[in-house]
């Protein structure tokens, strides 16, 4: 059958089936099972109203259960078993996890995922905040927003093609058609090379370290203040944040030293996607490019929701624009920033298409989702593949719990 025709029939059958299900099940409930007539009319109406919500919910609950809830448990089971040749499976306990932990590719994927988790949400939120704040102040801001938001509509695969063109490399004697190499070949080690390739990156890293230190200080400060009530159970969390921050600051400072020590291969076109470690950042740029628009739209709505009088009061008190932004507006939209951050974090944890399309995990760019796909469908090892999926699930779980917690608080 022609797939288009099949699609059409599916729409008709699907939509018609849904409508018919809801209509006839309601009719059945009201007219046949518990008719609102006769001696028990009142009781019947009540009974029907008790059942009706479940009629409305049943298809959705069924689909949710089958397509999202059941797989979580089935994947858990699969991760503890091993397929036997000729069908069937046997229980192997934690053996799959042990095998997975023994693979260097897994650790590479985990390390890269952590890098993605730090860089992409931070950069997207920062750019989004910047874009939101700037575009809100000018007349053509809406057009600007629309254009920055546009990559949201582009598929990860499409974006990968777009950026592969940017990273394209030709031999040194041919004209470069990738922007990055064309720019790179402009540098020859002179004054501007020093400014753009050493000083600017060092400043960015320094700013990053400063922001990390600031965030860590916010977390740690209440522990030193006496008299302020801090929940005892938050202490490990605070210490963890402090430890992570110190590690990140150490990394950035070391990178600054490395930048000034490095000999750059001026005049040679680079194949950007094959430079180990740094190629991860070239892949991350793609996702940052896509997600910034999302962060901008949401943060811009939050910024507009900041009460005018707090800003006016600050102006009257003589605050400059930077103080207004960082000390008045940002603290007030902190909850929204957290929401944006976690949403992007989840996108990052699931990132697959970009790595699959651009490097397929070669040159040390593997990430968990692509590692899992590799195991499931190339190596055909469902045990380790499922174990890798469970690792992704484990990383998502804190956010899941936090979301549910918030949702329940809101409902009360």
């Amino acid at each position: 059958m022609n797939p288009a025709l099949q699609g059409l029939i599916t729409i008709v059958v699907g939509v018609g089936g849904c409508v018919a299900y809801y209509y006839f099940s309601n009719q059945l409930l009201d007219k046949v099972l518990f008719p609102a007539r006769g001696p028990e009319a009142g009781r019947n109406i009540n009974r029907a109203n008790m059942i009706r919500p479940w009629l409305f919910l049943f298809p959705a609950l069924f689909a949710l259960g089958l397509y999202l809830a059941y797989p979580v448990f089935e994947t858990l089971r699969l991760s503890l078993t091993q397929r036997l040749p000729g069908g069937g499976s046997e229980w192997v306990g934690l053996q799959n996890y042990r095998n997975m932990l023994g693979e260097p590719k897994f650790w590479e994927a985990l390390r890269n995922n952590m890098l993605w988790l730090i860089v992409v949400p931070a950069a997207s939120t920062a750019f989004g905040l910047l874009a939101a704040q700037l575009t809100d102040r000018i007349r053509w801001g809406n057009i600007a927003k629309s254009l920055i938001f546009m990559p949201m509509a582009i598929s990860f695969v499409g974006a990968s093609v777009i950026f592969k063109l940017i990273y394209d490399t030709r031999a040194a004697d041919q004209p470069q058609i990738g922007v990055l190499n064309a720019l790179w070949l402009q540098f020859e080690g002179g004054f501007w090379s020093l400014v753009f390739l050493k000083i600017v990156p060092a400043l960015i890293l320094l700013a990053f370290a400063a922001i990390v230190a600031w965030v860590a200080w916010i977390f740690v400060r209440p522990m030193f203040k006496t008299g302020e009530p801090t929940g005892f159970w938050t202490v490990p969390l605070r210490l963890f944040v402090a430890g992570a921050a110190i590690y990140l600051i150490f990394l950035s400072l070391r990178s600054i030293v490395n930048i000034f020590g490095a000999e750059l291969p001026y005049g040679q076109p680079q194949t950007w996607l094959t430079i180990p470690f740094w190629n991860n950042f070239f892949l991350m740029v793609v996702l940052i490019w896509i997600q910034t628009g999302f962060a901008m739209v949401i943060l811009s709505a939050a910024l507009r929701g900041v009460p005018e009088d707090t800003v006016e009061a600050a102006i009257v008190d003589g605050a400059n624009p930077f103080q207004i932004f960082f000390r008045i507006k940002v603290p007030q939209i902190m909850p929204t920033i957290v929401v944006v951050w976690t949403t992007i974090t989840i996108v990052v944890l699931k990132v697959f298409d970009i790595v699959f399309a651009m490097t397929n995990g070669q040159w040390e760019t593997q990430v968990l989702a692509n590692y899992m796909y590799d195991k499931l469908f190339r190596a055909n090892d469902w045990g380790i593949g499922s174990a890798a999926a469970m690792v992704i699930m484990l990383l998502v779980t804190p956010i899941l719990v936090w979301n549910v917690w918030n949702a329940r608080r809101e409902l009360r």
């Binding site: 797939p3 288009a4 099949q6 699609g7 599916t10 729409i11 699907g14 209509y23 309601n26 008790m50 009706r52 919500p53 919910l57 959705a60 689909a63 949710l64 397509y67 999202l68 809830a69 979580v72 089935e74 994947t75 699969l78 910047l130 575009t135 053509w140 801001g141 600007a144 629309s146 920055i148 938001f149 546009m150 990559p151 949201m152 509509a153 582009i154 695969v157 499409g158 974006a159 093609v161 777009i162 592969k164 063109l165 004209p175 058609i177 490019w289 628009g293 739209v297 949401i298 009257v316 929401v339 699931k350 699959f356 399309a357 796909y373 998502v396 979301n403 549910v404 329940r408 809101e410």
Partner: protein, 380 residues
Amino acid sequence: MDNIVGKKSGLTWAVHISVALLVALWLFPTLGLFVSSFRTADQIVSSGWWSAFRTQEAQLAPIRVAGEEVQRDGRYVIEGTLFPRGQATLSHWGVNVNRPTEFAPGDTADLGDGVTLTVDETGAYVLSGPSSFEGQRLPRIFSTATTPPEFTLDNYRNILLDPRNVDGMAKAFFNTLTVTIPATIIPILVAAFAAYALAWMDFPGRALLIAAVVGLLVVPLQLALIPLLKLHLNVGIGKGYLGVWLAHTGFGLPLAIYLLRNYMVGLPRDIIENAKVDGATDFQIFTRIILPLSFPALASFAIFQFLWTWNDLLVALVFLIDATGETTVMTKQIVELLGTRGGNWEILATAAFVSIAVPLVVFFTMQRYLVRGLLAGSVK
């Protein structure tokens, strides 16, 4: 906001410039692909897309003299042109790889043994010699020429309209469309009923169900791949459209229910209670009042689901595309092209742009709903 107290901020110009830079930076990558998709393969290789709008002088790949040999005035002559499309102007040429700009247009080069070669400004060349060139290696011409900006629709013709092209996107385009439309419509209906029940009907366990939906919102669909593929194979759906429609429906439901419920909860209570007093059943309230009023939320979700299913690669790879490749979708086709046609940017850029174009149109026409949906989904 700084001019509230009547003071125009001195930073206004800095803001304009920074926003312009930011927009340029964000637009630049897409623009590159867009421009490249209208250039010929030669143009793409010979210069970066950013110089596509200029008349450019570039050294062209060497062209070997070829053509029918004729006898004229006792000499053997071969005539032809370097630029069959007639768009370029020659500025220098040469016959030696080490001296590619040795001659000016109109010069006559002496190739020894009485053989001469003349190339004029339009690229027309005349090779003449005292004896036949039969069986000889003809000389190569190295040329430097200026070409005016030139754009072509040929790439799109090849990719979309040529049915024999194995790299074509036409089939994949229709397959994507076939996946997308049912996968967008069906979850809306299922989710709308559920959202109504969660928003406006009272029953034990409602709060728990809402919490469950919020939890499922972030469950990675990676977990579902193997269990569901096994399930599909066991019940006989196998790999195909039905499977991918069901999968997209299942994966899209949490967001749909969440968005629609949040919206429906905000509808005025009076309308619903009045209708109840007037004797309307829940089914009637839903179809006559709630659905029409919820149109903005339905539209938001429809756009999300459309973009998501159109742009999806993973679900299609696992649930749809079988070994025959008949049901390939555009994202998969592009990944294949990246592997097999890695350097042929005229093919890649065009194929990618074909797949990007539809979401972009949807995005720019329905942006209002998209933004509203995003806000309803996150600023809660």
